[in-house]
Amino acid sequence: MRIEADRDVCIGAGMCVMTAASVFDQDAEDGRVLVLETEPPEELAELVREAARLCPSGALSVLE
């Protein structure tokens, strides 16, 4: 699984951090997503998919 984040689309809502804090963080200046693990381990896969679903701007894509 690979995560792609479009920082131009990202509005810094932080739903990804709320869902999977070990995989995502937010830039302290403008709140935009920082992907901590672009290829997260299998046990986090469902949380990562949920994070992508919850993203309000559609900035997150998960490539399986």
């Binding site: 810094g12 951090v17 709140g31 309000p56």
Partner: protein, 410 residues
């Protein structure tokens, strides 16, 4: 763009259903529409025929679609002359450049980006101390007055006001400078003269705040914005209005209505009191179940023709998304019409969706979580002082739905 295989037959126009059978449930017609015609034609108060979306899938699709604008929106309820006059007044002011709910990209993107850093998940954690301070004060005040007290006046409003004031750097005792005008702006019955006067008073106060921060900067959000120099003073005054308004009314309403929901069936209160670790999931369920922004997300206008599920929304048509209906969609949520405090509300739309999703949502969550936690420790026997049917609620056409007062005992 399609969301499902079904083509929707939008049918004849309806007006937005606003009359509730039970205070904690949305108007029943919204559920019927969601089942039969989740995208239907909506008649707005000025006679315009637009659209109403009531399903979870459609709500998400429409709110994230970039082909919609929020500018000069059309409200689905209220006197259209008052609404139009108020928007004309707001857009004519230079401060409107800071009121992000009124803006489209690129202006929206620029201002939101300036603010987002203060409202990150980690960032709002920095306000835990401020919230706890506000909670201590409110709890002390409740104990000093002794039961019964009006929970809205003594707890909900002060806690939410103190928190946003602390964040922005506004003196806590300035509450009346913005609470009163904000109530007039949000009311469905105020006249246009009252609303314009309220807007003026509110903005005058915000301008004073900014001027103060120029002269005496402190470690607060408004001072940081002034120091950074990316936004003009007019824009920062607009930001102050946006944050003071959205930052107190919504949270106070959730505290009031949420406490009512937990106490009107006390098994909910008892259950949560016994399981304090379940507070996060319980707060999400309260947000979903209550969906206080009752007329839905701010109405959007199509900038071009948008095709969705076989229906074409024409450029210039208004679209109202019912967040309350979407949050009760059985296709998304198990037992949607029950308040199951054990969880299952992930993905709810109480904070909206898309680029305008509530900027303060993580601060709101933290305030709610800490507030309910503190109440359960200090007032374990909290209860309604009157029967549930004697509690007065907001009108179905007000911006937010909540309790006007909440007499409680302990």
């Amino acid at each position: 763009m399609t969301t499902s295989q079904t083509t929707i037959d939008p049918g004849p126009a309806v007006e937005l259903p606003t009359v509730r059978n039970h205070p904690l449930d949305p108007a029943p017609e919204l559920g019927a529409l969601r089942e039969q015609r989740p995208l239907c034609r909506l008649r707005y108060p000025d006679g315009h025929i637009g659209w109403l979306a009531t399903s979870y899938e459609l709500a998400r699709a429409l709110l994230v679609d970039p082909r919609f604008s929020v500018r000069r929106t059309r409200d689905p309820v209220g006197d259209p002359d008052v609404v139009t006059a108020l928007y004309e007044a707001v857009y004519a002011l230079p401060e409107h450049g800071g009121i992000i709910i009124l803006l489209d990209p690129p202006e929206h993107t620029r201002v939101r980006r300036e603010l987002a850093g203060f409202f990150t998940v980690a960032g709002v954690g920095g306000y835990r101390g401020a919230i706890e301070g506000a909670l201590s004060e409110a709890i002390e005040e409740m104990k000093a007055i002794g039961p019964p007290v009006d929970f809205v006046d003594v707890f909900a409003l002060p806690v939410s006001c103190m928190t946003i004031c602390k964040m922005l750097g506004a003196p806590g005792e300035d509450r009346e400078e913005f609470v009163r005008p904000n109530a007039v702006l949000a009311s469905s019955t105020s006249t246009v003269e009252d609303k314009v006067a309220a807007l003026t008073a509110f903005l005058d106060y915000c301008r004073e705040l900014i001027a103060e921060k120029r002269v005496r900067p402190a470690d607060d959000l408004l001072s940081h914005l002034v120091a950074r120099g990316e936004l003009t003073d007019d824009e920062i005054a607009g930001v102050a209005l946006q944050l003071l308004s959205a930052g107190h009314d919504t949270t106070a309403t959730m505290l009031g209505l949420g406490t009512f929901a937990l106490l009107c069936d006390r098994s909910r209160w008892e259950r949560l009191r016994e399981r304090p670790t379940e507070i996060d999931g319980a707060v999400e369920q309260l947000l979903r179940y209550l969906t206080i922004l009752q007329a839905g997300a701010f109405t959007r206008t199509a900038c071009e023709d948008v095709e969705i599920d076989g229906v074409v929304i024409r450029a210039g048509e208004s679209v109202t998304v019912s967040l309350a209906a979407a949050n009760r969609d059985p296709d998304k949520f198990d037992t949607p019409d029950e308040l199951d405090l054990s969880g299952g509300a992930s993905g709810h739309l109480a904070f909206g969706h898309g680029r305008h999703m509530c900027l303060g949502q993580h601060l709101a969550r933290l305030e709610l979580k800490l507030s309910f936690g503190a109440l359960m420790i200090d007032f374990p026997n909290l209860d309604l002082a009157v029967g549930g049917d004697q509690v007065s609620f907001h009108d179905g056409e007000d911006l937010l739905f909540g309790v006007r007062e909440l007499p409680v005992v302990w």
